[in-house]
Amino acid sequence: MPEDILYSVRNLTVEYQTRAGAVRAVDDVSLDIRRGEILGLVGESGCGKSTLGKALMRLHTGPASITGGELWFDGRDLMKLPLNEMPDVRGAEIGMVFQDPMTSLNPIQRILDHLTETIHTHEPETSDAAARIRAEELAERLGIRRERLSEYPHQMSGGMRQRVMISLALALRTKLLIADEPTTSLDVIVEAKFLDLLQELQKEFGLTILLITHNIGVVAEVADRVAVMYAAKMAEVGDVNDVFGDSKHPYTQGLLKSVPNIRLGENELYKMEGAPPSLLHPPSGCRFHPRCPFVMDVCHTQEPAFEPVVGDHLASCLLYQKAGVKQESLNG
């Protein structure tokens, strides 16, 4: 595996068992996360991005499970690890920040204890005093005054709690931080501060960040590269300027058009036709074909491969794939 790729996801499939049968929330998805980058993962609600995020730590329980694929993290396939060794990876090498910091913290546990517990879980030889010192330093680094560490979660503000979540995720030598909709519950100003913090962490610690969100603006601002998911499949991946400046997949194009833009002064908001498909009975061929403005006959029957269109810019669209011959995009 090339040195600059931290996490290589290959052909990942995650299934949920439901009343009506098995649903694939993530269907044969491949993605590379490079060291030191901020990778944005966007898509509508229910496209599978959160599921993908959780799968990176094999966090699923109950009716959801990974039914196929490989997870090459830092040179080893996590799928080959026995499940009871995953806790060693979680929190230590891969960390996760969740959407709602209020409910993500144990209401009857002090903040300091959250931190020291994490430290002790992964490094049990650490003395209580040493753990405490580390926790305090970490908190200070992230802008939390040490006196506040003995408080309970409900005594803190939303932004503060989100910082606590980050500090928890970084308590050890984390290489990858997965942020699942981290700013959705924050107001705009706090959100801005949070994003700044993320970029600082990236620069200072060389932290790799996977930022999962449905907010394209956030991604455009901080991400280096972006991945777009649609209906449990990967639609497009590439440098953020390429994907947003010169989108290849019609879905991405529609997505960008939907973002309200003050300057253009349009009277009506653009709306994509149709609705996201049921994952229980997905459309045949290309999943986007019922809504695609450029749909061709072959799209009804053949599934597009996820392939490079230009250099590192990949897309799964038959517009660029005709019998193995790549074509220039039909639309700039």
Binding site: G91, M96, D100, L105, N106, P107, I108, M165
Partner: protein, 365 residues
């Protein structure tokens, strides 16, 4: 010093100290909460005592006449009625009743020797305690551990087995369980005694200090007495404890399941905290909070169960006393016993609420 006073001191002094401590160290929120709870307890006892008073006064017929039976001449009846103040207007009687209850003036038994009721109760009450405390401990341990286990293994065989266990236990009439245990262990296997607190012969060697026979035996180093008490305790404790455990299993299971679905549990899992720490550490501790309040409510079931268990095993406690006195139409005694029960229930639920407020920091700050 009478045993009741002794027990009251042993329990009361630490309780008062604790309350003072909470008051001094606790935040205003906590203080306000405790005061409110104490404030609500009084009306509760008041209401129950009033209920008792009126319920027993609604009698068709004359309690004194039925108590004295055919031997009672009209003059005797009239004299006793005046003595007991039964001819006074209701309001006066009620006032006197309240005053008496507050000062623990329970009066004398209407029948059977006219013993002061408080003497009877100071023998009976420790007996009930001796039964109820080990039973509760058993029920809590089995119940909480079982419930958590069922929640951790949800939808798998152990969960269904434990759920069936709790439903079956709940449906088991406690008196039938007692009888069956008596049949098996007492009659057919002849391993354990089936009635009483202690072997009557050995019983004469006990010194009555607290009237908790086990404790008294230990204090005085009376080993054979201790063994005899322990023997007699096994079946009734097991009966009461087992039935109660069914309730706890169900309560704990539901609460732990709900707690396990909380976000902070998956967040903790994402930090690498191990499953068993999640279940028994985080989830259980959080789940215990609502369970604690429910435990307070179980006191009612405990007392009801005690009444039945004591009857089955001829255990001379408050429960069997109540039943006896009712059959003997001794209404003064019945009234006193029920008032004591009401007081007990009120105090325990107060204590539970206080503990709850200490455990859940969201209430504190």
């Amino acid at each position: 010093m009478s045993p009741i006073t002794l027990i009251a001191l042993i329990v009361g002094i630490p309780a008062i100290l604790l309350l003072v401590y909470i008051f001094v160290r606790g935040s205003t929120g906590l203080r306000r909460y405790i005061l409110t709870r104490i404030g609500l307890t009084l009306p509760m006892v008041f209401i129950l005592a009033t209920l008792v008073f009126f319920v027993l006064r609604v009698l068709p017929g004359d309690p004194v006449r039925s108590a004295l039976g055919p031997k009672g001449t009209p003059e005797m009846i009239a004299r006793i009625r005046t003595q007991l103040g039964l001819n006074d207007p209701m309001i006066v009687q009620y006032g006197r009743f309240l005053g008496d209850m507050v000062t623990l003036h329970f009066g004398n038994s209407l029948t059977g020797g006219h013993r002061p009721i408080i003497d009877e109760m100071s023998e009976r009450f420790p007996a009930t305690l001796e039964l109820v405390i080990p039973a509760s401990i058993l029920a809590l341990v089995v119940g909480i551990y079982g419930g958590t286990l069922a929640a951790a293994r949800r939808k798998r065989t152990l969960d269904y087995a434990l759920r069936i266990y709790s439903v079956v236990i709940y449906s088991l009439p406690i008196f039938w369980l007692g009888l069956m245990l008596q049949l098996l262990f007492g009659v057919q296997l002849n391993w354990l005694p089936i009635s009483g607190r202690i072997d009557p012969v050995i019983g004469t060697t006990i010194k009555h200090i607290t009237n908790l026979y086990a404790v008294d035996a230990l204090i005085t180093g009376n080993w054979p007495a201790f063994l005899s008490v322990a023997e007699h305790l096994v079946l009734p404790t097991f009966t009461l404890g087992l039935i109660l455990s069914g309730v706890f299993v169900r309560m704990t299971r539901i609460n732990v399941i709900e707690t396990l679905q909380a976000d902070y549990i998956s967040a903790a899992r994402a930090r690498g905290i191990r499953e068993h720490v999640l279940v028994y550490g985080h989830a259980l501790k959080n789940a215990m909070i609502p369970v604690i309040t429910l435990i307070g409510l179980q006191v009612a079931i405990l007392l009801a169960g005690a009444v039945l268990t004591e009857t089955v095993f001829s255990w001379p406690g408050m429960g069997s006393y109540l039943v006896e006195r009712i059959s003997a139409r001794d209404y003064t005694a019945v009234q006193s016993v029920i008032t004591v029960f009401a007081l007990l229930v009120a105090l325990i639920s107060l204590a539970v609420d206080v503990i709850y407020s200490m455990v859940d920091p969201r209430v504190r700050y």
